[in-house]
């Protein structure tokens, strides 16, 4: 128990002192996972909307695949991404393995199903009469989509938080495609694994607290935006 308190105290020292090493690792984590989440929105939201609004053969199968993709194991993504990115692999010419960009790519693959699946669910639970009404008012297709997104903004922001939470907390893929290289691809989760291996438990706990604090701050901002958009009951 004493170890945990020492770790938490150490975390506050590191944060208050603005320890450059820890700050750099934290910013890298936030940048990598933030970028992966942003990219996953670009692909995931349209995919989710398409699945919610259109009917085509194999739709249920695709939806089921995306929904089970929400639980995609990071190590599996990391392994497949590593093999693809190897110098001798099909994408080896990109020279991406053991770079921050490789982590972004792997985390993007992890976040897309979360965002797409939750977007589909969010749009589908809107009142179906809304679409008819919008069409009756003479809205263009783009206007209709924009309005539907606006109506579903609360669960959509929840999708953003779920996607971000999934990728900033994963360690398997970051370790495998990033390589945990100091000052380059070492993120908060892989640094925690390393410090645990080294037996520096207090530093590992401190890094965990920093990770939780950083995740909380980001989620707090998104939640504030979300609640501002919520209508009073």
């Amino acid at each position: 128990m004493e170890l945990i308190f020492r770790g938490i105290r150490h975390a506050f020292e590191l944060l208050l002192r603005g320890d450059p090493e820890v700050m750099a690792i934290m910013w890298l984590s936030l940048r990598v996972s933030g970028l992966a989440t942003a990219l996953s929105l670009v692909i995931g939201v349209p995919t989710g909307m398409g699945l919610a609004l259109r009917r085509f053969p194999g739709r249920t199968l695709l939806l089921a695949a995306i929904n089970s993709g929400m639980g995609l194991p990071p190590v599996v993504v990391g392994l497949v991404a590593s093999i693809l990115l190897w110098r001798t692999g099909p994408l080896g010419f990109l020279d991406l393995l053991y770079t921050p960009a490789a982590i972004v790519a792997a985390q993007f693959a992890l976040a897309v199903p979360v965002v797409a699946g939750l977007t589909a669910a969010a749009v589908q639970q809107l009142d179906p009469r809304l679409q008819v009404q919008l069409a009756g008012l003479g809205a263009s297709r783009l206007q209709t989509l924009a309005w539907l997104l606006h109506e579903a903004r609360l669960p959509l922001l929840a999708a953003v938080m779920a996607g971000f939470g999934a990728v900033i907390s994963e360690v398997g893929a970051s370790m495998m495609v990033g390589g945990n290289i100091l000052h380059y691809t070492r993120v908060l989760t892989t640094a925690t694994v390393l410090e645990t291996a080294k037996g520096n438990f207090d530093v590992a706990i401190a890094l965990s607290v920093v990770l939780l604090a950083a995740t909380f701050c980001v989620t707090m901002i998104v939640t504030a935006v979300q609640q501002r958009g919520a209508r009073p009951a």
Binding site: R31, R87, T88, G92, N180, I181, Y184, G199
Partner: protein, 281 residues
Amino acid sequence: MRRLALLCALASTLALPPGAAAQTRDVILATTTSTQDTGLLDSLVPRFEHSCRCRVKTIAVGTGQALALGARGEADVVLVHAPPLERRYVAEGKFVGRRLVMTNDFVLVGPSADPAGIRQARQVSDVIRRLGQGRAPFASRADSSGTNLLELKLWKEAGVEPKGPWYLQVGQGMGATLRVASQKGAYALTDRGTYLALKQGLDLDILFEGAPELLNIYHVMVPNPDSFPRVNATGGAAFAAFMVASETQQFIGRFGADRFGRPLFAPAAHRREEDLLRRAA
């Protein structure tokens, strides 16, 4: 539209700096966890980076995986400690330029109560036979690391099959395996460096040491450049040369003395593997 612009602005601030792009002159070093967990590489790598004006990407994995990566041309240089396996790879033409870098030794650690009576053993084969009786658990790395490969060799040479509920296959790095051993009152084979670095939090004592079979020999070598055109052969060879340079060797000979009271590694670039092995035979 405004929202889209906001998203774009957000994405661009999050975008990674140009320095994060892949650099063709990066050197990928595949090595064992022991060289990283003891902190040796953290001290050595920046010195090399300064002299070569390049970046070293250190991938710390078990020796088995480091060799497998190098043998596929996925690394530019390897620093490993499993001589029989290394020689096999060299014979297959996968690696060239194998050079002796340093040594330290393995020790057998366990609970101080020593239920298997390891302290009374005089030889490694005797130690293994006592462990094989299964009076106390034994924690094995079970991850094809250099330490694991040596452990398996010792069982085989003593004619004991490690099997049974007492044989715990941890499947993790040295530090994690030592902690499992400490929690379970188990024995374990470890390199001395990692044990010394982690000793504080462990209920484990050194029960057997000093036998010639327990010498831990580190070599550096580079993947055969003829087989792998994409390998950074120049960078890999430069790192290998750096590891055996006299200044580096002197640094290795001092490393850890301030923290642990004795150096963790002995420089060995000036020695011959045959001589080390003859002593071990």
